[in-house]
């Protein structure tokens, strides 16, 4: 038990966050007010939408489908391309109150290298690069890079060469053995692992008798997948030494606590804030209350405690 006041700050492989709550990639507007307090008051960092070298339109047709306590999405990396992002979005979002994590979609090695060298010019504006080797909504690249330990290693090595700042690798649940992929990414130089991205699902329209999405499959996120993501966090954090960021279905303070007890150093929230923008404030406050009640001085005291 300690009398020190509780601070919510955490450190992720040397990156200091004022709170362990992170806004997950692809879910947050690139508008200036969303990167400032009070909206972000309890947020430690926010991830950009996935960035690619060239502008991308993303997928045609229906892109969203609500499921029981979940959401299927097939956005498909829509983004303005790295140059437009750096010119139009970065000045807006990097002058706010919350740190920016650049989510970089793994494309071809040349393209990814090009994106990372452009980002390197603005290195001090980013808390970290989150290398997305787990997008289920594109044909080439995407999730395939994260499905296999040797491909994951190759992607992370490439990124490590092109980006000197903190490097997070965002893993996919769609792989035979996530612990092996995690170890490969660690060995290749990742500073932290984001566990994980969306889960491959599908929806069918019984009226048209066709798959709802143009690419047939889509990524499942939201509270429905929380128990699955928690299991991955437990597994991966037992397999590697580097910090793990839990991501998938977090909606409640208990979820954030559970992820950290299972070994996460921080927790990302995506889908749930679509329905509840107050979730950061609620979770942030209740987390501090919980720490105080348990006599902890920092959320970092929780990390991996459920394993002992």
């Amino acid at each position: 038990m300690s009398d020190r006041p509780v601070s919510s700050a955490v450190s992720i492989g040397g990156v200091l966050l004022r709170s362990p709550l992170i806004i997950a990639s692809g879910t947050w507007p690139h508008e200036p007010e969303y990167w400032k307090d009070p909206i972000c008051a309890f947020v430690g960092a926010a991830c950009t939408k996935a960035l690619t070298l060239h502008p991308r339109e993303g997928n045609p047709g229906i892109r969203l489908w609500e499921t029981p306590c979940g959401l299927l999405n097939s956005i498909g990396l829509q983004n303005p391309g790295i140059e437009n992002f750096l010119r139009d979005d970065l000045p807006n979002i990097s002058s706010g109150d919350v740190g920016v994590v650049a989510n970089v979609a793994m494309e071809s090695e040349e393209e990814t290298a090009a994106v990372l060298s452009r980002l390197s010019v603005f290195e001090e504006r980013f808390l970290a690069v989150e290398l997305n080797i787990s997008c289920p909504n594109v044909d080439a690249g995407g999730m395939a890079w994260g499905a296999d330990p040797s491909l994951a290693a190759r992607a992370v090595e490439l990124a490590r060469r092109c980006w000197k700042g903190p490097l997070w690798a965002k893993l996919t649940p769609q792989c035979g053995n996530i612990a092996e992929v995690a170890r490969a990414a660690e060995a290749a130089g990742a500073d932290a692992l984001v566990v994980a991205n969306t889960w491959l699902g599908m929806a069918m329209d019984p009226v048209s008798e066709k798959p709802v999405f143009s690419r047939k499959v889509a990524g499942l996120s939201g509270p429905a997948i929380f128990p699955l993501a928690l299991r991955l966090v437990w597994e991966v954090s037992s397999a590697v030494q580097i910090p793990v960021i839990g991501c998938g279905g977090v909606s409640k303070t208990e979820d954030a606590l559970s992820m950290m007890l299972a070994g996460a150093s921080a927790v990302a929230v995506g889908t749930f804030h679509f329905s509840d923008l107050g979730c950061f404030r609620n979770i942030g406050r209740e987390l501090l209350e919980h720490l105080a009640a348990k006599g902890y001085s920092s959320p970092m005291d929780l990390i991996g405690k459920g394993k002992k």
């Binding site: 009070p38 909206i39 329905s275 923008l277």
Partner: protein, 258 residues
């Protein structure tokens, strides 16, 4: 812990369902009261509404605002599926969570004589517009008899409302599009809100007559604030987000998604 899922950010607030009026089977006017006043709401702007009971369904549902008071607003909600059924089954006094007002409404200085064409609940933004600009003309199309309650209620609020149904069981026979041929492209403008099929027909008819036309689109939405990229529509200037770039667009710009 945060099970009540309340929120006190500026964008989201807890409201009380102060009144629920049923117009016909499966069609309700919900009156919502808020502690804090609402900023001025443009016709065509919308809110996302959800319950704080359970997490299924968990996304808010988008509805155009059809009336406002200082601390209150009204929505016209048709039961279309699980979410709207749940919202319409709640008792008065229930607390709900509201995000908004969101998006961009119809032009605030149209500068021309406005003709509003509505398909069923598409009348919502025009009820609000009429609250502020009594000289607009409103045409409402309904599928048939079942919708009499909507026509009657809307006509009370919009004296002079023209109602149409294909089979002439309510109001005139035909659709609100009938008026388009009489309009003058220089002095008049069309605003339309309703099902996508109707909007496409309005778009085509106005195009033919070179009539300026604004349409309010309906797309699936998760966030309503420009975060998820789920609500995009193809336009002449590329993909645009219905929630933040719309839901009202110049009809000449909209290319739809196919």
């Amino acid at each position: 812990m945060c099970e009540n899922r309340s929120s006190d950010s500026l964008i989201e607030r807890v409201v009380t369902l102060s009144k629920k009026k049923d117009l016909t089977k499966n069609l309700f006017v919900l009156s919502l009261e808020s502690r804090e006043p609402f900023s001025r709401i443009q016709p065509g702007q919308f809110v996302m509404l959800r319950t704080s009971l359970g997490m299924d369904p968990f996304l808010g549902r988008p509805f155009a605002v059809c009336g406002t008071g200082e601390n209150s607003l009204e929505l016209l909600v048709a039961v279309a599926g699980r979410g709207t059924r749940l919202l319409c089954s709640l008792p008065e006094g229930e607390r709900l969570v509201l995000r908004g007002p969101l998006g961009n409404g119809f032009p605030s200085q149209p500068g021309k004589r406005v003709h509003c064409l509505a398909g069923t609940t598409g009348i919502a933004p025009f009820l609000l517009a009429r609250q502020e600009t009594p000289k607009i003309e409103v045409h409402l199309g309904v599928p048939g008899r079942d919708w009499m309650g909507l026509a009657t209620w809307a006509a009370e609020r919009i004296p002079g409302l023209c109602v149409y149904s294909e089979d002439a069981s309510v109001g005139l026979g035909g659709t609100p599009l009938a008026c388009i041929d009489q309009l003058d492209p220089v002095t008049e403008v069309v605003w339309a809100c309703g099902p996508t099929g109707m909007l496409k027909a309005v778009q085509a008819a106005c195009e033919r007559r070179k009539l300026p036309c604004w349409i309010s689109l309906e797309t699936r939405m998760a966030c309503g604030i420009g975060g998820c990229h789920g609500c995009v529509v193809r336009t002449v200037t590329g993909l645009r987000k219905t929630c933040t770039d719309g839901p009202v667009f110049d009809s000449r710009e909209v290319l739809w998604n196919e």
